[in-house]
C-alpha cells in the first residue's frame, strides 16, 4: 500500500504577516538542522528536544503534519518558502494598533474572500480618524473617515450655505 501524498491546506489565521512566515521558515530550518545533528550525534550524548512556537504548532495542527518525518518538514519548508516568495501582501493602515481579535477577523475575511494565502502588514496613521487604508501591489484603497470627509466636503459646504441662508 503506497503512502498517501500529503497536501498543505493553508496558513493559520495567526500567521498573518511576512514576518510571521519568515519566523516559521527559520524555525523549520532550525528544526532540520537539529534533526541532522541528531542523526550525527554520538551514542550516549545528551539529546535536547526542539521546542516549537505557537505559530508552528497551529500550522502543524492545521495541516496535520508530523515534523518528526523529514518529508513533512521538507513539504512545510517548501510551502513556507513559496508563501514567502509569492504570496500576495496587503498593507493595511489603521489609526491605532489593531487588537488580535480584530486582526484575526480581518485576515480571515481576506483569506476567505480574496486569496487563501494573503499576508497582511500593519501600519499606523493616527490622523485618519477611523476606518483603514488598504494598499495592494498597485493600488491604494482609502476607506478612512478623513477620505470620507474629503469626499463629502461639498455636502458640508452646501449645509453651511443652507445654515447661512436660514440665518
Amino acid at each position: 500500500m503506497a503512502p498517501e501524498s500529503k497536501k498543505i491546506k493553508g496558513l493559520p489565521i495567526l500567521v498573518a504577516s511576512p514576518v510571521d512566515v519568515g519566523r516559521l521558515v527559520r524555525e523549520i530550518e532550525s528544526m532540520n538542522e537539529m534533526f541532522m545533528q541528531l542523526s550525527l550525534r554520538k551514542p550516549g550524548a545528551e539529546v535536547k528536544m526542539p521546542k516549537t512556537s505557537r505559530l508552528m504548532d497551529q500550522t502543524i495542527l492545521l495541516n496535520e503534519l508530523n515534523l518528526l518525518l523529514s518529508e513533512d518538514r521538507l513539504l512545510l519548508q517548501q510551502f513556507l518558502r513559496a508563501v514567502k516568495e509569492r504570496a500576495p501582501v496587503i498593507h493595511a493602515s489603521f489609526n491605532a494598533d489593531p487588537p488580535v481579535a480584530f486582526m484575526e477577523k480581518l485576515v480571515s475575511w481576506l483569506r476567505q474572500e480574496v486569496n487563501p494565502l494573503v499576508l497582511v502588514t500593519i501600519g499606523l496613521q493616527p490622523n485618519m480618524g477611523a476606518g483603514c487604508v488598504l494598499r495592494t501591489t498597485n493600488r491604494q484603497f482609502d476607506f478612512s473617515l478623513r477620505e470620507n470627509f474629503a469626499k463629502k466636503r461639498e455636502l458640508l459646504t452646501s449645509m453651511l450655505h443652507v445654515e447661512e441662508t436660514a440665518a
Partner: protein, 207 residues
C-alpha cells in the same frame, strides 16, 4: 459828434462877439466921418450953427445917448447871448447827459451781455463737469461694487474651504481616537466587500 457840435456853438458865439465889437467901432468911425466938408463959409456957418446946435453939451448928450443905446444893444445882445448860451449849455448838458446815458447804457448792455455769456459759459462748463463727474462716479461705483463682489466671493470661498477643513480636523481629532477598531470592523469589512473585486484583480494582476 458831440465835440464838433460844441466847437460849432463856441465858434458861433465868438463870431457874434466879434461882430458886435466891429459894429461899435464902425459906428464910432461913422460918427467921426459924418462931419460936413462944405465950403469954408458954409463950413464956418455950419460950424457955427453946428457949434451952436451941436455944442459941446449937445454932442456930449448925443454921445451919451449913443453910448447908452450901444450899451443897451450890447446889453440886449449880451442877454440874448446869455440866454442862447444858457439854452445851448442846457441843450448841451441834456445832449451830453443823453449821450452819456445812452453810451453808458450801451456799455452796460454790452457788459451785461458779456457777463451773461460768461455766466452761460460757466454754467455749461459746470454742467459738463458735473456730467463728467457723475459718469466717473458711476463707473467708479460700478468698479468698486465689482471688486467688492469679487473680494467677497474669494473670501467666502476661502472661508468655506477653511471652515470645511477646520470642521473635518475637529471631528477627526474629537472622535478619531474614541472609536474602537472592533466597532469599526463591520464598517471596514463593508468597504472591503464593496471593493473586493478590485482588490482581487489587482492582486491577480500584480507584478
Amino acid at each position: 459828434m458831440t465835440i464838433w457840435w460844441l466847437v460849432v456853438i463856441l465858434g458861433g458865439l465868438g463870431s457874434a462877439g466879434i461882430g458886435f465889437i466891429w459894429l461899435a467901432v464902425r459906428l464910432n468911425q461913422v460918427s467921426s466921418a459924418a462931419r460936413p466938408r462944405q465950403s469954408e463959409s458954409i463950413e464956418e456957418t455950419a460950424d457955427q450953427d453946428v457949434e451952436h446946435v451941436f455944442n459941446k453939451e449937445f454932442r456930449e448928450e448925443l454921445r451919451n445917448r449913443g453910448r447908452l443905446h450901444f450899451e443897451k444893444i450890447i446889453g440886449e445882445n449880451a442877454m440874448f447871448l446869455q440866454q442862447d448860451l444858457r439854452l445851448t449849455t442846457s441843450q448841451l448838458n441834456e445832449y451830453m447827459k443823453t449821450e452819456i446815458t445812452r453810451k453808458l447804457k450801451e456799455e452796460f448792455d454790452k457788459y451785461e451781455e458779456s457777463i451773461t455769456d460768461a455766466k452761460q459759459l460757466a454754467i455749461e462748463s459746470i454742467q459738463k463737469t458735473n456730467t463728467a463727474i457723475d459718469d466717473q462716479r458711476k463707473v467708479l461705483s460700478q468698479q468698486v461694487q465689482e471688486e467688492i463682489s469679487a473680494e467677497k466671493q474669494v473670501r467666502l470661498q476661502r472661508f468655506e474651504a477653511n471652515m470645511a477643513d477646520i470642521i473635518n480636523h475637529y471631528v477627526l481629532a474629537a472622535i478619531g481616537n474614541q472609536i474602537d477598531l472592533n466597532d469599526q470592523l463591520e464598517y471596514i469589512l463593508a468597504d472591503l466587500e464593496a471593493n473586493k473585486q478590485a482588490i482581487i484583480e489587482d492582486i491577480q494582476n500584480g507584478a
